[in-house]
């Protein structure tokens, strides 16, 4: 199920940003995800303050050459993936 646009994603307990060999990573229990470009822009906004809608709007501005609808779909897809990994809490 895709996240609701007015919810505020926040990194779940035990999930945090890290860096290694100039590579930003999302560290979580027993695993890590490499973060590049858009994925890093998304994860740094999962702070419990931005709503999903705000993340979408801000990235649509950053990636203004991409189709806005496509940016939104990609973000919702990525947030869903992080949710399945149990890396996010969604606060309303």
């Amino acid at each position: 199920m895709p996240p609701e646009l007015n919810s505020r994603p926040r990194l779940a307990p035990g999930c945090r940003l890290g860096e290694n060999n100039q590579q930003r990573v999302l560290l979580m229990p027993e695993r890590a995800l490499r973060l590049n470009g858009p994925s890093l822009e998304i994860v740094t906004r999962c702070d419990g303050k931005h709503t999903v809608q705000q993340i979408v709007s801000e990235l649509q501005q950053i990636y203004s050459k991409a189709q806005p609808k496509k940016v939104e779909e990609d973000i919702l897809g990525y947030l869903t993936l992080l949710q399945k990994e149990r890396a996010l809490d969604f606060e309303l």
Binding site: P13, R16, V25, P29, E30, K84, R86
Partner: protein, 367 residues
Amino acid sequence: MTTTSNPLALIAELTHRCPLHCVYCSNPLELQSRSNELSTETWSRVFQEAAEFGVLQADFTGGEPLARTDIIDLVRAARAAGLYINLITSGLPLDESKLAALIAAGLDHIQLSFQGAREELANEISGAKSHAHKLRVLEWVKQHRVALTLNFVIHSRNIDKLEDMVALAESSSATRIEFANVQYYGWAFANRENLLPTREQLDQSLGIIKHEQERLEGRIRIEHVVPDYYAKYPKPCMGGWGRKLVLITPSGDALPCHAAKVIPSLSFENVKVRSLREIWEHSAAFQKFRGEDWMQEPCRTCDRREQDFGGCRCQALLLAGDAAATDPVCSLAPLRPKVDAILAGMNAARPAQLFTKPSWLYRPNSA
């Protein structure tokens, strides 16, 4: 020589001392004594070397890692080095203030082991009165913002109770459950006939796990490791020999996996005298089964060789008598009939045993 990238995780077996005596303990049959354990300073240097080499995570395990009186210092040192810290614990030595101190020192994730969902069996399997204290730990963890995994080691005596285990996790603040079926080395190998589930038990458990994974998606992530005797293909043991993980024993030997010492032809180097990086890149033990050059048929020409890396070397030794053989659990392995014979024996003999308490071989505490 096969070149390789850096390891991603460091398994720090801090001690073999443990208040539990689990009948499937993954420690070797020969346990290290306290007097041989690495110092705080040496561990701190190893954490630093690991982080500089590109390691992301440290798994603090044992034995019971909290048996180390310097555990808070070790957590602080690993975190200062830049590592993500998983603590794999029985929870027995924890109290509220120690838990708070560990988290303040930088602990990221607690993996609490449970030997069952109910007191009687859990205590029987662990050979200690342990279960009630673990339930208290669950309540204390709720007061903190820290990741929690409940780890259940699964075998014939508790595989029918997965729903109770999930319910226990749901009553806690856990975001992950690990259902780890026993793998048969060391202590578990000695207790195999009392631990291996039947095919029917396994199939039923797979259905329950799938259902619970779907029901809890987004709330609790359920990870599951099948008992590889029942698998069609072997597990990619440790993600491949010397590819992703390095284990340091309590006395400082660097191993490619928990059980590697059972392979008699290997000798292991120690972090007291060489750096982690030198050992990883150059030691004969890490080179031995790295890459594909060592592989025999059918692995050597198999399409799956980059997925499972020939399976587990220790299991090949235990069951085939040759650490370079294809893991005999593989359906393509020449010795698969041996595993099938073990399973056939199990599945025929099981019913009568279910109602009697087995005579377990318990793992002792180390000196």
